[in-house]
């Protein structure tokens, strides 16, 4: 028997096939139809692992697209799922920092992986993947490349919290002759600062796991670690923490 967890985020849809361990995982852009993206992931996991739907004990769906599906046996919020996923990745995790496409959150969990407190960003793109995407687009650079940039330059200061204002701030920095690299570092700093404001509202506790799409960037992790003055961990499964948690909930039910 297996379980499947699907995390339909605003940017990417992640899915995990599980039977007490992670058997397989897949990711696809969510695009305009969260329902289709979820279905696609489900189908892919079944096909590549030669499984029938009846061999799946439960499909648990989370993420913002969770309400739009018709194939879920259960829907659970991404906060609970992240907690379960992070606990599976490392039992010593007590705080999760999750920065996704359109929201960011900090979650405290206990030694059993239960949520004890959490905080989410307000309805604004500041400090999220969207902020990075919007601002970095105006530089003509791909998000995947930000870690390849030189580390030894001073970041420009991006003071606008609003993604739209920050975009025009980037444009004027470019006009003033600032280098693209220093601007990118400034953007990353801005995201980290906004995340710090969020973290200030809950008691962060070691160990800290960084999840969500932005956890792929070593640079963001480093800046956050420095600002927090505490080591932050990531995992190969960081981006899949929500889907993993959903799969675990399905497995345990």
């Amino acid at each position: 028997m297996y379980s499947i967890g699907i995390d339909i985020g605003s940017v990417a849809t992640k899915a995990v096939l599980f039977n007490k361990r992670i058997v397989d995982k897949t990711i696809t852009p969510t695009g305009w139809s969260p329902k289709q993206a979820g279905q696609q992931c489900l189908k892919k996991l079944l096909e590549t692992n030669n499984l029938q739907k009846k061999e799946i004990k439960q499909v648990v769906v989370t993420g913002y697209g969770r309400i739009s599906t018709d194939f879920a046996d259960k829907i659970v919020t991404e906060i609970t799922c992240h907690a379960k996923g992070a606990h599976f990745i490392d039992e010593q995790i007590r705080t999760i920092i999750d920065i996704g496409g359109e929201d960011s959150k900090a979650i405290n969990i206990d030694k059993e992986g239960n949520v004890t407190d959490f905080i989410m960003n307000d309805k604004c793109a500041a400090g999220t993947g969207k902020f990075l995407e919007v601002t970095i687009n105006s530089l003509g650079i791909d998000i995947a490349d930000i870690d390849k940039l030189a580390q030894d330059i001073e970041p420009e200061e991006i003071s606008s919290m609003c993604a739209v204002f920050a975009e025009s701030e980037v444009t004027s920095l470019l006009a003033q002759g600032a280098s693209k690299k220093s601007i990118i570092l400034g953007i990353i700093d801005s995201i980290a600062s906004k995340t710090m404001i969020l973290l200030g509202k809950i008691d962060t506790r070691d160990k800290i796991l960084f999840t969500g799409g932005l956890a792929q960037s070593k640079r963001i992790k480093e800046v956050l670690s420095n600002k927090l003055d505490s080591k932050i961990y990531t995992s190969d499964h960081s981006q899949f923490a929500g889907a993993l948690g959903a799969a675990i909930i399905g497995w345990n039910s």
């Binding site: 913002y64 309400i67 659970v76 919020t77 991404e78 906060i79 609970t80 929201d103 239960n114 949520v115 004890t116 407190d117 959490f118 989410m120 307000d122 309805k123």
Partner: protein
């Protein structure tokens, strides 16, 4: 799922039906006084033979119009109240002979300065502290000023006799409202939080208090009878939520809906239409003006500094309603409630040892998804 007692319909339509009733009352020559806040001593208005009516301010609709004069980042309740006034789309506002306001928060008192261009307005100076003797004296003086204003404008005499009568009537109404919302102490509660809210809010538009008390009595009886006969429409294991903070009604009811859709049950509303307004009665054995001064000054709203009364009240309610989690609602731009969230969180988490979350929202429906996630996760956490 069982159906609600039929008498419940009376309340869910109260606001709309009130529109027609107020027109009738006006045609009968009754004086109408518009109010905006729980601090308004309605007993004085009733003793003047006039009818106090809560004015519209819970809908998104007129906000765009209001923002022509008011800053965008102001609390939606103030913008909505003002918007309804300037567009003259609230029948209660239209029929009001006078509006009574109070200097509660900065937003409201400055908004009143603009609104008085549209309608005769009397603003009471509310002290910002409810512990000092000086505050009591100031508020008492304001009570007297309102009394004089009403006597002069409507050419009546507000005798102690009439005032005591009004106090007694309002106390009886509060008592029955209390009995009603205390249904939430039952486990499981007989009705949903949204239904409790509907009746609490509906009470604002019941102008004949004697009739209202009777209706409430029979509604209570119906619900209790069903419950005693074993009817249960709410599962016993649902997490029990207390809502505190800004007033919740109309468009902000989305928060209650989100809690219910996530599998929680709201058992107590500490807010303005609920416990905050009704819990403390007006003393009937002392001078009526002193009694009113004391009761209204004691309302634990975040405009007071310090506002320890809110903590005392919450502490008692959390125990009495066996609350599992507290949801603190601050409307965007409501500085006093927004700032107090830090104190409330600390108190609920560390003194009462239960879970707490705060939601900042407005009257728009744009954050429905966010609310579902936040409140969903909160309920899952309990």
């Amino acid at each position: 799922m069982t159906k609600l007692p039929k008498s419940f319909d009376e309340f869910s339509n109260a606001k709309r039906e009130g529109f027609l009733k107020v027109k009738e009352l006006k045609e009968q020559g009754k004086d109408i006084i518009g109010t905006y806040c729980t601090y308004t001593p309605k007993e004085l208005i009733m003793a003047a033979g006039a009818i106090p009516i809560g004015l519209c301010g819970t809908s998104e609709e007129p906000i765009q119009e209001a923002e022509k004069d008011l800053p965008r980042n102001l609390c939606p309740l103030i913008k909505s109240s003002y918007g309804f006034g300037v567009t003259d789309t609230c029948p209660y506002f239209y029929f009001s002979d006078l509006i009574v306001g109070e200097t509660t928060c900065d937003g409201k008192k400055k908004m009143y300065e603009l609104l008085k261009e549209k309608k005769a307005m009397h603003v009471m100076q509310l002290p910002q502290n409810n512990e000092d003797k000086e505050s009591f004296n100031l508020w008492k003086k304001e009570m007297k000023k309102l009394k004089e204003k009403l006597e002069k404008q409507f050419d009546v005499e507000i005798t102690d006799e009439k005032l005591k009568e009004a106090i007694n009537l309002r106390n009886r109404e509060r008592e029955i409202m209390k009995q009603f919302y205390e249904l939430g102490t039952l486990c499981p509660p007989p009705i949903e939080g949204s239904e409790i809210l509907e009746v609490l809010y509906g009470a604002e538009f019941k102008f004949n208090k004697e009739e209202h008390i009777k209706e409430m009595g029979s509604l209570l009886e119906d619900i209790k009878e069903d419950y005693q006969q074993g009817e249960r429409k709410i599962a016993e294991d649902k997490p029990r939520i207390l809502i505190t903070g800004c007033p919740i009604a109309g468009d902000s009811e989305k928060v209650v809906k989100a809690i219910e859709n996530s599998g929680g049950v709201v058992v107590c509303f500490e807010n303005c239409f609920g416990v905050k307004a009704n819990e403390e009665l007006v003393a009937e054995n002392i001078n009526p003006i002193d009694a009113l001064t004391k009761k209204y000054l004691n309302i634990p709203c975040s405009v007071m500094s310090p506002n320890d009364g809110r903590l005392d009240l919450l502490s008692e309610l959390i125990d009495r309603y066996q609350v599992d989690g507290v949801v603190d609602i601050a409307l965007q731009g409501c500085h006093t409630y927004n700032i107090e969230t830090a104190t409330i969180k600390e108190f609920v988490n560390n003194e009462k040892n239960i879970s707490y979350t705060n939601i900042e929202t407005d009257y728009s429906q744009t954050d429905t998804g966010q609310l579902a996630t936040r409140l969903g996760a909160f309920i899952e956490m309990l």
